[in-house]
């Protein structure tokens, strides 16, 4: 302890300093510590009668960062909704965790505590899924930020349980529109540059690691131009026995993989503040996919030999976070000089906090060290013993014999003062649709199908190796010419299980629509869950076995209105989970997605929720794609159409505001999905596609041009709110829970039986049929043709929109 006295050159005096002085310190070192947090730290060191060291302050700042502790979701909030005010003690526990707990699904194997959520996959296997965001780094350096985003989430999967084998990557992005022509503030990239860099980063890291990237989406909105969102997801498989992990005192702390360098300092703390031009460039790490592939190969080999008791990845906060978390319940002693370095002149705190990539930390019983060394040497992967886990309850770090950190684990992990924040939500008044110029349905449809949020993503998808590991049996691009918009991919993970006889597969779907959130984040959340489940159901996954992940990306939670909206979204997630019977198994929030625009005005992103869902496809050979399969087949519409054009693509292309946001009835929705799933498992469904942006018209057009058949639809047959008298509403409303299904005439009665007694609340009606002529022809309510479009032309508009901008 004496070495940490005031004379230590690495000490960081804070005792007796004023709030103002501490704020200056905080800013200059990118610590993102609040006044209350400083006060708690001062009080702690006052009782210790010493000053902290620099490494200790950095450790506390990282451990307490929004990024690592999720303070917003776990601290008390005074929430005012309309005229009522109440206190939320812990938003995360009260919404996401509570709903999941109430569902008590026996197939959930590990929830919220490990690096990813884990569910059962058959009897022998466990499936882990995690989605991370890498927004701030991707804004600073799109290629490196996105690549290390992939690398980071892959390590989460390597670090869940005793390690899972990654079998699928998913990537969802929100960008500013690539045709942005306005000014941008200094230091920010044009959205096109961001898009190109991010796609290339994801491509190069995922492809090099041999993990198929086969799921995700892109959303364009000008409000993301300074704060792009990059959601990186990975699914992994591991044997059931590998789900549990345990650190024992006496275990060696072993670091494997990449060396430690100066790249990635302050990543955790910098992502816990609004993004500005002063962001430190060292915060973005430098990725090396092949290094991580070596770690993957060696780690899984060591896992199968049962050479270690626990593992976690070095992500935000580096060793500090990884070792601090692994040793949280026992204690850890670390000797920094043992860490392999990229450069010899690193300071103690830099080694301790560096977020250099491709590193994992293992807890290894000493007797296994030799065998572990052999395994890693065989893969050309470096390994070093940094210290050991102890029984002291302390985090003790030395560097060449000098104590640099000596912290009580209790203070570090529970000493964070919980500041109460204020939040406000006022329900929007129902507004009649207004503004914009009316357009003929055909004109609107053509514009919508070429809209950036709908058009083909082939330019992006083809750059990802979605076939590696030989598992993509339903591919992201579908149809006659392998270029149609699939609802989800179906993965047959035989490369991980080694079993080619077993066709147990899984599918991953996503839901995201910030335009609904602009009206009401509660309904945005329900719609996102609904969309993710619809997508899964459409390809043949079992909606009753779906597990959900949430990723909230929000602006500053210090703004009560933003925080109120976030609460609404979290409550939407809670009600969706309960209503659909689908538990959340993992999630992440990324806050402070807000910057000063070119005029110095705050530009927050729209509150954004990505819901990712994973569910088993019991027999992949019964999976379904979205392309029409032939002429003369019946078309059934599942789900009721309401007048819900608020936040719709139709309103967006008309320039119209107001209208009702789509509202989900989870009970009716899940009945419909389950009935459809039952019909699919019996082979009664030829194709299925969900109705999302652009509604029925867009859905039918996509199914048609992908399958190269046309269709006749009669709007009067749509299950609907009887108060709808407008063809446009029936064509373009975005009411949730709806799926268009193609059924062979001889299977119609068998198909309908699935929607009998067991699914009373589901609505299903025959709304038309497929035709040989590739034309979308719709009969309106008045009995005459209201829309007749060549699918070839629609497809061209859909395909050329993105290449026109990106080349």
């Amino acid at each position: 302890m004496s070495q940490l006295a005031e004379t230590n050159p690495a000490s960081f005096p804070i005792l007796g300093k004023s709030t103002k002085e501490l704020r200056v310190l905080s800013d200059s070192r990118h610590l993102s510590l609040s006044d209350a947090e400083w006060a708690a730290i001062q009080a702690h060191y006052k009782t210790l009668k010493r000053e902290p060291s620099l490494a200790e302050i950095e450790t506390i700042a990282q451990t307490w960062s929004e990024h690592c502790k999720h303070k917003t979701f776990t601290s008390p909030i005074r929430y005012t909704e309309g005229k009522k005010t109440r206190t939320i003690k812990n938003l995360f526990q009260e919404t996401i965790v509570a709903a999941t707990g109430a569902l008590k699904k026996p197939w959930c194997l590990s929830l919220f505590k490990d690096n990813a959520g884990v569910v059962a996959f058959g009897k022998k296997w466990a499936l882990a899924f995690k989605v991370e965001t890498h927004n701030h780094p991707s804004a600073l350096e799109p290629y490196g930020g996105a690549a290390t985003g992939v690398g980071g989430v892959v390590r989460d999967i390597l670090g869940v349980g005793l390690g899972a084998k990654p079998v699928l990557n998913t990537d969802t992005f929100c960008f500013g529109r690539p045709d942005w022509t306005g000014a941008l503030p200094e230091g920010s990239h044009h959205p096109t540059r961001t898009l190109r860099g991010v796609v290339a980063g994801v491509r190069d890291y995922g492809n090099r690691m041999g993990i198929p990237t086969a799921g995700g989406g892109i959303w364009f909105d000008d409000d993301y131009r300074l704060n792009p969102l990059v959601f990186c997801g990975t699914v992994g498989l591991m044997p059931r026995w590998a789900v549990k992990k345990e650190v024992k005192p006496g275990d060696l702390i072993v670091t494997v993989g990449g060396r430690t360098g100066r790249d990635g300092l302050h990543g955790a703390t910098f992502s816990s503040a609004n993004l500005g031009a002063d962001a430190p460039s060292s915060a973005v790490q430098i990725g090396h996919a092949i290094q991580e592939k070596r770690v993957l190969d060696a780690l899984l080999a060591a896992r199968d030999k049962k050479l270690y008791g626990s593992v976690t990845d070095c992500g935000a906060g580096g060793f500090s976070s990884a070792i601090g978390e692994l040793g949280a319940s026992c204690g850890a002693r670390v000797r920094l000089e043992a860490a392999p370095l990229k450069a010899s002149d690193l300071d103690s705190w830099e080694i301790w906090l560096s977020e250099s990539q491709e590193r994992m930390v293992l807890a290894v019983p000493p007797k296994n060290l030799k065998a572990l060394e052999t395994v890693f040497a065989a893969e050309g992967c470096e390994l070093a013993v940094l210290g050991e886990f102890t029984k002291t309850g302390r985090l003790e770090v030395t560097h060449h014999g000098c104590v640099v950190v000596d912290l009580d684990m209790g203070f570090l992990h529970t000493g964070l003062p919980r500041a109460e924040r204020a939040a406000v939500w006022n329900a929007p008044a129902s507004v009649k649709p207004a503004g914009g110029a009316s357009k003929k349905p055909s004109e609107a449809l053509r514009e919508m199908i070429g809209h950036l949020n709908v058009c083909s993503r082939e330019w992006v998808i083809r750059q990802y190796d979605h076939e590696v590991q030989g598992g993509a049996i339903v591919k992201p691009l579908q149809g006659v010419r392998h270029d149609g918009p699939g609802d989800a991919c179906v993965i047959w993970p035989h490369a991980a299980t080694g079993d080619m006889e077993d066709f147990s597969c899984f599918a991953v779907g996503h839901g995201l629509n910030p335009d609904y959130g602009r009206i009401d984040p509660y309904w945005m959340a329900l719609a996102a869950v609904d969309e993710a489940l619809r997508n899964l159901t459409c390809v043949g996954a079992d909606p009753a076995r779906a597990a959900l992940l949430d990723n909230f990306c929000w602006a500053s939670p210090e703004d009560p209105k933003q925080l109120g909206a976030l609460i609404r979204a979290a409550e939407g997630c809670r009600d969706a989970a309960k209503g659909f019977g689908a538990p959340f198994i993992s999630g992440k929030d990324s806050l402070f997605n807000q910057s000063k625009d070119e005029k110095g005005k705050d530009l927050p992103i729209p509150g954004t929720l990505l819901v990712s869902a994973v569910a088993p496809v019991p027999d992949g050979r019964k999976a379904v794609t979205m392309d029409f399969k032939g002429p003369g087949n019946a078309l059934y519409l599942i789900g009721r159409t309401n007048d819900e054009l608020g936040g719709s693509l139709y309103h967006r292309v008309l320039g119209r505001t107001g209208g009702e946001v789509p509202k989900v009835s989870p009970a009716a929705a899940i009945d419909g999905f389950k009935a459809l799933h039952a019909a699919m498992t019996r082979g009664h469904v030829l194709s299925a596609h969900d109705l999302s942006e652009g509604g029925l018209a867009l859905c039918a057009a996509e199914m048609g041009f992908t399958g190269e058949f046309g269709c006749l639809l009669d709007l009067d047959e749509c299950p609907r709110d009887p108060r709808i008298y407008s063809n446009e509403t029936l064509l373009f409303s975005e009411s949730p829970s709806r799926i268009l299904v193609e059924v062979k005439p001889e299977n119609e009665s068998a198909f309908l039986r699935h929607f009998g007694k067991s699914a009373k609340s589901a609505m299903v009606r025959r709304v038309g049929q497929t035709t040989a002529n590739p034309i979308l022809k719709v009969t309106g309510l008045e009995g005459t043709t209201c829309l007749e479009e060549s699918l070839k032309e629609l497809k061209e508009a859909w395909q050329t929109a993105l290449p026109k901008i990106l080349g």
Partner: protein
């Protein structure tokens, strides 16, 4: 009957080894994943195996050119590879493995094992994944294609797949020696450009063999078409033939027996 042992070569960054092993296993082979370092130390010996497969991936990140580093290691470590080939044992290099065979001077075949071809970045400038129509050279005696129809489909996924030859004369030699095993074509068999020829390879070459037909290097991935359900149109039920990739592995295993 003893199952033919298949050496599936690994190095840092190879990543199609598991599905390749599964494919060999399902047609009666006995695959073993062997790291190049195990061959270097002599722990494993190439000549103990009946078949060699170099799978796809990004060996050493393709950092100084696709497959280049592993090709040099093959040159210096697998010194018995030429003998292995001479004995007529099947060798297949897929994607990155094809790049390795070419840069190690195994394909196109020459007595000196000098490298006479190479790969460069796709004409599109991008890594691309897509299914391609291919025509098997029925004149060539490549054992992997025995009994297969002339027109087949397989997926490609690469960024550096454009085959280039040292000289125009080499192309004529390759034609003469029937070494061009596989070409990218349109659905009706025409030699056209992008996207049918996904990378701009000379003469639409997708795969090369040696005059004896026991070595095959190809950019497309046969291990990604070993069940009907791998075909992108299986839900349309328009593809009813046996999966081509599986047949190719089966041919090698049957031959080795």
């Amino acid at each position: 009957m003893k199952k033919p042992q298949v050496l599936i070569l690994r190095a840092a960054g190879t990543n199609c080894e598991l599905e390749t092993a599964n494919a060999f296993k399902s047609v009666g082979g006995d695959p073993e994943l062997v790291h190049i370092s195990e061959l270097r130390t002599g722990k494993k010996k190439l000549m103990d195996y009946a078949i060699l497969a170099i799978p796809g991936g990004f060996s050493y990140g393709d950092d100084v050119g696709a497959g280049k580093v592993l090709a040099n290691q093959v040159r210096h470590t697998l010194t018995d590879l030429r003998q292995f080939v001479r004995l007529g044992r099947p060798v297949i290099g897929i994607c990155n493995g094809f790049q390795v065979l070419v840069k190690a001077g195994i394909l196109p075949h020459s007595n000196s094992c000098e490298q006479s071809a190479s790969f460069t970045v796709n004409d599109s400038g991008k890594f691309e994944t897509r299914w391609t129509h291919l025509r098997i050279n029925t004149q060539s005696s490549c054992l992997f294609f025995k009994g297969l129809p002339e027109m087949i489909e397989l997926p490609v996924a690469h960024g550096e797949g454009k085959l280039v030859l040292r000289s125009p004369r080499l192309l004529e030699d390759l034609k003469k020696t029937k070494s061009i095993a596989l070409q990218y074509v349109t659905e009706d068999g025409k030699l056209l450009g992008y996207p049918h020829n996904p990378n701009g390879s000379i003469f639409n070459i997708a795969g090369l063999t040696n005059p004896e037909g026991n070595v095959l290097g190809l950019m497309p991935h046969p291990e990604r078409f070993v069940t009907l359900h791998h075909h992108p149109n299986w839900t349309r039920q328009t593809y009813r033939k046996a999966p081509v990739g599986l047949e190719m592995f089966k041919n090698a295993v049957d031959y080795a027996r």
